[in-house]
């Protein structure tokens, strides 16, 4: 299990355990956390699982692929350095302590 902190827009933090091999999106979904919708279920087909990664973690995440990058351009208020789609970020032991922040809304 890998500890991940999800911070809702507005500041409420949730620290949950996510199994390695799952995605950061699935960690939110499976713990019933609000703020990540993931309408397409993780197919990188929508952009409703967008988060801002805590600056300390940006470099430690698996690299962003073109498909995700292009989708992110059209998420709600993307941040060119910190935005990710959580369905594309696989959880591994190295990500223990990861902190992500939710945007104001998902579109």
């Amino acid at each position: 299990m890998v500890k991940i902190t999800y911070i809702e827009y507005g500041g409420t933090a949730h620290v949950v355990d996510v199994p390695a091999g799952r995605t950061v999106m699935e960690g939110a979904r499976d713990n019933g956390l609000p703020g990540i919708e993931a309408d397409c279920g993780g197919a990188c087909a929508c952009s409703t699982c967008h988060v801002y990664v805590h600056p300390d973690w940006v470099e430690k995440l698996p690299p962003i692929e073109d498909m995700e990058e292009d989708m992110l351009d059209f998420a709600h208020e993307p941040d060119p350095t910190r935005s990710r789609l959580t369905c594309q970020v696989k959880v591994s032991d190295e990500l223990g302590g990861l902190i992500v922040e939710m945007p104001e809304k998902q579109i």
């Binding site: 019933g32 309408d39 397409c40 279920g41 197919a43 929508c46 498909m67 292009d70 059209f74």
Partner: protein, 402 residues
């Protein structure tokens, strides 16, 4: 004490139940599903799950504990056998469950090949439920011969999975081209070529005369008289809305369960959402078979069940994964008279559907940027000059600013 009953525990039902709770509804919610599993995502059934790349629990829309925590009672593994509108009850396994309001999220069911042409032989499958895919999984062994009947998205996705797993895949389509019902010739051409490059044999203008076998299917006779040996068959010949309960309860049916712009059926206490429901859209009535619609419509219906009076305005979007291509679709292309093509380098392209000067829809292949921009434009009712679309030196983002 009777609360809200939801018939159908798929995407629409799950979204509706969750939304009711999110809106603060505190009365009982009972969701009844005939499959013995909690609500799950269907799209991966013909993609990652069929490939064996996705474990069962990853398909669940929510973990089972979610429903308990939200006090949403799940009744799984039992079909509803009747709706009694007079007593406001539904019958499940001999029991009557009362409702104040009822939501029908019954989904759709696949068309089967007729038994008269061998449709009930062993080894003939459809792709709709988890059980369907679990039943066919063992058939997907390298070198086996798979015949797919129907060149729509389900058939093409199954063909891609078969090819990836090393099967010999033949797909037949009765119409002159694959995807004829849903897409432009340009999109059909794109996917025909893609599948050919991955070793899938596609035969258009070719129907199925009959399947042959003694218990197990072993061959297919095609409409041109040719007989081909097969190990198993997948039929992807469309789905029909699941309206039986509604029909028996004398609700109005009109290409699905007829609802008004709020999602209400012809009975004031009964609502419908998702694949099973038809609803007013612009100047006509449509029914959408998609996850996006199931979620959005169910959430609006949840609001309206609590009195919001909100009109459902569909923003259609779809996706499909085949081989290394992600297809994303925005809008509805019905009535298009012109295709504007934008071809980028590699296997990326987008086809934009216009009627006159009006942009209706687009198909974007490995081009998420075109998809996202096209979706925004369509939702805003903006129609860019087609010449700017086809000119690949145009930065599509500029279209959102003009």
């Amino acid at each position: 004490m009777s609360g809200i009953v939801i018939i159908g525990a798929g995407q629409a039902g799950a979204s509706l139940a969750a939304k009711l709770r999110a809106l603060g509804y505190q009365e009982p919610i009972t969701m009844i599903g005939e499959e013995p599993v909690p609500p799950y995502q269907r799209p991966p059934l013909s993609k990652g799950y069929l490939l064996g790349e996705m474990a069962l629990e990853r398909l669940y829309l929510r973990p089972p504990s979610f429903y308990e925590g939200q006090k949403i009672a799940l009744r799984l593994g039992w079909p509803v056998t009747a709706i009694d509108r007079t007593s406001k009850t539904v019958k499940v396994g001999g029991e009557s469950i009362p409702y104040n309001q009822l939501a029908l999220t019954t989904g759709s069911c696949p068309r089967n090949l007729p038994a008269a042409i061998g449709g009930s032989l062993n080894g003939v499958y459809t792709v709709r439920a988890l059980a369907d895919v679990d039943a066919m999984a063992a058939e997907f062994q390298k070198g086996r011969r798979l015949l797919i009947v129907g060149g729509g998205y389900i058939g093409l996705e199954a063909a891609a999975v078969g090819a990836k797993l090393g099967l010999q895949v033949t797909l037949i389509e009765m119409a002159p081209r694959i995807l004829q019902r849903v897409a432009a010739p340009e999109t059909s051409d794109f996917f025909r070529e893609l599948h050919a490059d991955h070793g899938v044999e596609i035969l258009e203008n070719t129907g199925l005369d009959r399947l042959i076998g003694d218990g197990d299917v072993r061959a297919a006779v095609l409409s041109d008289g040719r007989e081909v040996a097969v190990d198993f068959v997948i039929a992807g010949v469309g789905i029909t809305p699941q309206t039986l309960l509604a029909e028996e309860a004398d609700l109005e049916i009109d290409n699905g369960i007829r609802t008004d712009e709020f999602g209400r059926t012809s009975d004031h206490s009964i609502w419908a959402a998702g694949d099973c429901a038809s609803f007013p859209h612009q100047d006509s009535r449509i029914r959408l078979e998609s996850v996006g619609n199931a979620i959005d419509q169910a959430e609006v219906v949840a609001e309206n069940m609590l009195g919001a009076g909100k009109v459902y305005s569909a923003k259609p979007w779809f996706w499909s994964d085949q081989h290394d291509v992600k297809l994303q679709i925005a809008g509805l292309n019905t009535g298009y008279d012109r295709i504007v093509a934008r071809r980028s380098e590699g296997r990326a392209a987008s086809f934009w559907y216009y009627r006159g000067d009006r942009l209706l829809a687009l198909d974007a292949m490995n081009d998420p940027r075109a998809y996202m921009i096209g979706k925004r434009l369509i939702e805003a009712g903006t129609s860019p000059d087609p010449a700017r679309i086809s000119d690949t030196t145009t930065d599509l983002r500029m279209l959102l600013k003009s």
